[in-house]
């Protein structure tokens, strides 16, 4: 499958750039000798410094190299975005798949549940849950993970974001289970779970992937938003949202501390949105009719 528009190919390029930056962040930061977790000047709060050769984008208010923190921030953003969407995807596939496949009261019950979730303002729920949780480092199970605060954010976003995917999957399954190949599989002895898992769900995935790509973009924005409000990632993690919060006091005097993390956030989300739009268009059966 090729991406249909130039915009979507640009989106893919942006996403690949950010993925590479995230993967090779430590190696890249070492190029100009940085360790993004350690303030270069460890005592006290100092005004951020302007860009210079040893700090290509300057430093933040603790003397930490901004570019290095941005690179590490890409790791946080992308991993939280993708993992949260994976959680949402799994839930959506299971709930939507079961509802569409079994029908009857199971379908009714699951879809009413989905409706309720759909009619709730998702960002506010995420805020309510993350704000109320005690320090993630004290939570059972989660505290053994490397970054408990990020685990909380991605689980909350995943558990809130599944409703749209569940609806999409259910609609797909309703169509697919009436197809001839489903009848053929049934005739060959595939039943229940096997038919659903091996034959129907894989074919329902295509339109879901476009939605999930845009969902990743939304999750990245939500993570930054929650971190900005002080309930997402915990400092000193270099989350872009935290970096913007920390730069807020220097907005008028040293604006770049705020500008760069926001630009990084914006371009990553824009890339994912462009890619998602392209995928959606590529999988749209009406595409050829709409072509110029």
């Amino acid at each position: 499958m090729t991406l249909p528009t130039r915009a979507s190919r640009i989106g893919l390029a942006i996403v690949i750039c950010f993925a590479l930056a995230a993967i090779f962040a430590p190696a890249l930061a070492r190029l100009w000798g940085q360790n993004p977790y350690e303030p270069v000047i460890p005592v006290g709060v100092i005004p951020p410094t302007a860009p210079e050769p040893s700090h290509p984008l300057g430093t933040d208010s603790l003397g930490r190299d901004l570019l290095a923190r941005l690179l590490y921030g890409a790791r946080i953003s992308l991993s939280v975005g993708v993992l949260a969407e994976t959680v949402a995807l799994l839930l959506g596939l299971v709930i939507g798949g079961i509802a569409g496949f079994y029908g009857g009261w199971v379908d009714d019950f699951l879809m009413r549940m989905t409706d309720i979730f759909f009619s709730l303002p998702a960002p506010l729920l995420a805020l309510a849950v993350t704000a109320a949780l005690p320090d993630p480092a004290t939570l059972p199970y989660l505290r053994r993970l490397p970054e408990p605060s990020l685990a909380v954010v991605l689980l909350v976003l995943g558990f809130i974001g599944w409703a749209g995917i569940a609806r999409l999957v259910r609609a797909q399954i309703l169509v697919l289970r009436e197809m001839d190949y489903a009848a053929a599989a049934t005739a060959l002895g595939a039943r229940g779970g096997r038919l659903l898992l091996r034959h129907l769900l894989p074919n329902a995935l295509a339109p879901v992937i476009a939605t999930a790509t845009i969902g990743v973009a939304g999750n990245i924005l939500s993570e930054a938003w929650l971190s900005f409000l002080g309930v997402g990632a915990h400092p000193p993690l270099p989350s872009w949202g935290i970096m913007i919060t920390e730069g807020q006091n220097y907005l008028t005097t040293h604006p770049w501390v705020c500008i760069y993390p926001g630009l990084a956030l914006f371009s990553a989300v824009l890339g994912l949105n462009l890619l998602g739009e392209g995928l959606r268009e590529a999988m749209d059966p009406h595409r050829f009719a709409l072509k110029r």
Partner: protein, 321 residues
Amino acid sequence: MKSYLLRRLFGILPVLWAVATLIWIILFALPGDPAAMLAGGFRSDPQVLERVRAEWGLNDSAGAQYLRYLARVACGDLGTSYRQGRPVSRILAETFPATAILALCSMLLAACAGVALGLISAAWARRWPDDLISFICLGLISLPVFWLGMMLILLFASRLGWLPVLGYGMEGLRIPATQIRLPELNHLVLPSLTLALFSLGAICRVTRASLLEVLRQRYILSSRARGMRPVSVHLRAALRNALIPVVTVLGIDFAALLGGAVATEFVFAWPGLGKTIVHGIADRDLPVVEGGVLCLCLAFVLVNLAVDLCYALVDPRVRLQ
């Protein structure tokens, strides 16, 4: 119509029940001792803890506590703020008008600008104005709203000095909504512009898509054949029919708008619900946070009900039954 309204109002109840239950789970069932939270600085004193438990009925079974909580919420009692010692409902009532004004202004701004841009985009579909507008809209959707607000502050308030930075000042909390005068309105410009830019993208995209769909209909062809001017075809024949999905998006997008409002109010120190919620988070003042969220959820659900009622206004074919 009346029975429809009644049925829809009842339909809201399970949603509110779900939110209230979720909040109860958050407040009382998640790890952490609510008594310790309520006791604040005295949490190490077992006597105080015991008294708090007795006072709040924390020794009862979970089921009894849950039912009592539901009864309290149904009566509009959302608990008492840990920090301010006042009923949460009163705090919310004081701050809600500011949020409502902000949300309303930005929604209006976003709807007008979004529909206008969508019209332009559809009129020049697949040519450069359309490409440009589509790209701008996708850009606006991808912007983190709190960062957008800060950039607008930087540009218009700090560098150009045209507009005031912060909400209506420290006194703002005490100004009732009815007494906001014109000088206060320029405090409203930047926050509502921020929020409007944030919601504009989605509205414009839906208007465009929906218009393109409608413009393919036969009755548009016949309007054109009868010599209607292209402008009239778009504005009078197509737009009204194209507005239904736009109205839906206005309702759904209201959730994002409220979420954005929380961050925007914080950035602009706008004395509304959102700022109250963020300060509640910083103070670990949970009843305020959860009450605020419940209040915003209620606003969201009611707006969506209003949106459904609007269908009948926009589209005379829709009969509400």
